[in-house]
């Protein structure tokens, strides 16, 4: 199962990203779980300096922006 992580403290942008991620899972039709990482130490340790960040299977794909469900779905398709 693909692990999607949304890194951020829970502000509106992070929530939007989480929403987009869940939509992307449906769009791409892959078996994936969406996990929220809210611990600041962990976020910084992953090299994410501007939230929200998105990681797929541990690989940080974007920081500081909100990728569209389409963008995320494309990453999911190539991650499988």
């Amino acid at each position: 199962m693909v692990k999607i992580e949304v890194l951020g403290s829970g502000c509106a942008n992070c929530q939007k990203l989480e929403q987009n991620a869940r939509e992307a899972v449906t769009l791409a039709g892959v078996d994936a779980e969406v996990v929220k990482v809210t611990d600041y130490g962990e976020i910084a340790a992953r090299g994410v300096l501007s939230t929200p960040g998105l990681a797929i299977d541990g690989d940080v794909k974007s920081t500081g922006r909100i990728p569209t469900p389409g963008d995320i779905a494309e990453w999911l398709s190539s991650a499988g």
């Binding site: 340790a45 974007s62 963008d71």
Partner: protein, 349 residues
């Protein structure tokens, strides 16, 4: 390998973008003549009457300010996407303290920054060995030289005021950062931050750089949410500005806000703190006041205090820093802003 189950419908990007630019230009050039026609022909006010002039001002300023916001904030957000904090961190690591402070303050101006990123950014910078003073210089200049404020200042007052604002903001950030760098602030960091600092930063993952189209879409989408949040403030601010324009006598403004009144600058700084979210609405008011003789120092202090002192950000920073550090940080920023205000007023600018 999964395949995209449904293709999302999106408008063809470049044609829509071109159309949007054209519409913007039309609206921009039509604003003045249309507002004049609306106020004096359609609504029948007398040119020169207080109510007529105030109404015309209002009808002109609302579209003008909103157009400025949408157009230029989109442009600036797009350009800023090329200077993400990761790059700034790499550029600042290993620099000497003074050069680092100046660089950090300068980068703060161009880096996009969201208050919610304050903590990871703070830790990330410290982990790279960037001194606290340098990091704080960045945290001062980032919100202080606020692109919405700069855009509106440039559009409403011209480049000189905007540049002065930026120069004043940079000075506060640089001097503030240098002063803070001299102080023993380490002991006020939360213990877990000091621990985290021992771990070396992650070598930045190979960044999946967004395409130009993605950057522009991002910029447009963040402008849209900004304008959605801010437009009521803009309308209110312009309404108040129009009122001042038409009805408040110049003598009053000069007396209360002017160089002769030493309380003016501290007063506006105090007023500004709760107005954080309303900077876009504050500027039209400031335009009217400036027109009525409010001196530039008072204006600059007010604007800087509005954007630099973000209570939400301080609440967030409480996670990494104990109250004494936050208080000292705030104190240095306020002192800098007051200094700018008094200096400009004293110089009679």
């Amino acid at each position: 390998m999964g395949t995209l189950a449904i293709q999302r419908l999106q408008l063809p990007f470049w044609p829509s973008a071109a159309l949007a630019v054209a519409a913007w230009l039309v609206a921009w050039f039509a604003a003045w003549p249309v507002s004049q026609w609306l106020a004096f022909d359609l609504l029948g006010f007398q040119p020169g009457s207080s109510l007529g002039e105030a109404t015309a001002f209002f009808l002109y300023d609302v579209p003008k300010v909103l157009l400025l916001l949408t157009g230029i904030v989109t442009l600036v957000s797009w350009l800023r996407s090329y200077v993400p904090p990761q790059r700034v961190r790499a550029a600042l690591a290993g620099r000497g303290e003074v050069a680092g402070t100046v660089a950090a303050a300068s980068f703060g101006v161009v880096t996009p920054f969201c208050s919610c990123s304050a903590v990871p950014l703070f830790i990330g910078f410290l982990q790279a060995g960037i001194p606290i003073g340098v990091t704080l210089a960045f945290l001062i200049s980032s919100p202080l030289v606020n692109e919405v404020a700069l855009v509106l200042l440039w559009g409403l007052f011209g480049p000189q005021v905007a540049i002065l604002y930026m120069a004043a903001g940079l000075s506060v950030a640089i001097v503030g950062g240098l002063v803070l760098g001299r102080l023993p602030l380490e002991r006020f960091l939360e213990p877990w931050v000091l621990e985290a600092r021992q771990t070396a930063p992650v070598t930045a993952p190979v960044e999946h750089r967004p395409t130009t189209e993605q950057r522009l879409r991002d910029a447009w989408s963040s402008t849209r949410s900004l304008v959605r949040k801010v437009w009521p403030w803009v309308v209110i601010g312009i309404g108040v500005g129009a009122f001042i324009h038409g009805y408040v006598p110049t003598e009053f403004i000069v007396q209360v806000g002017g160089a002769g009144n030493p309380l003016a600058v501290p007063l506006v700084v105090a007023l500004a703190v709760p107005l954080y979210a309303g900077v876009a609405g504050v500027i039209p008011i400031v335009e009217a006041l400036l027109d009525k003789g409010l001196p530039l120092g008072t204006v600059l202090a007010f604007m800087m205090a509005t954007v630099a002192i973000s209570l939400p950000e301080f609440v967030i920073l409480r996670r990494v820093a104990r109250p004494p550090l936050l208080a000292i940080f705030l104190g240095v920023v306020v002192a800098g802003i007051l200094a700018v205000g008094f200096l400009f007023n004293a110089l009679g600018m």
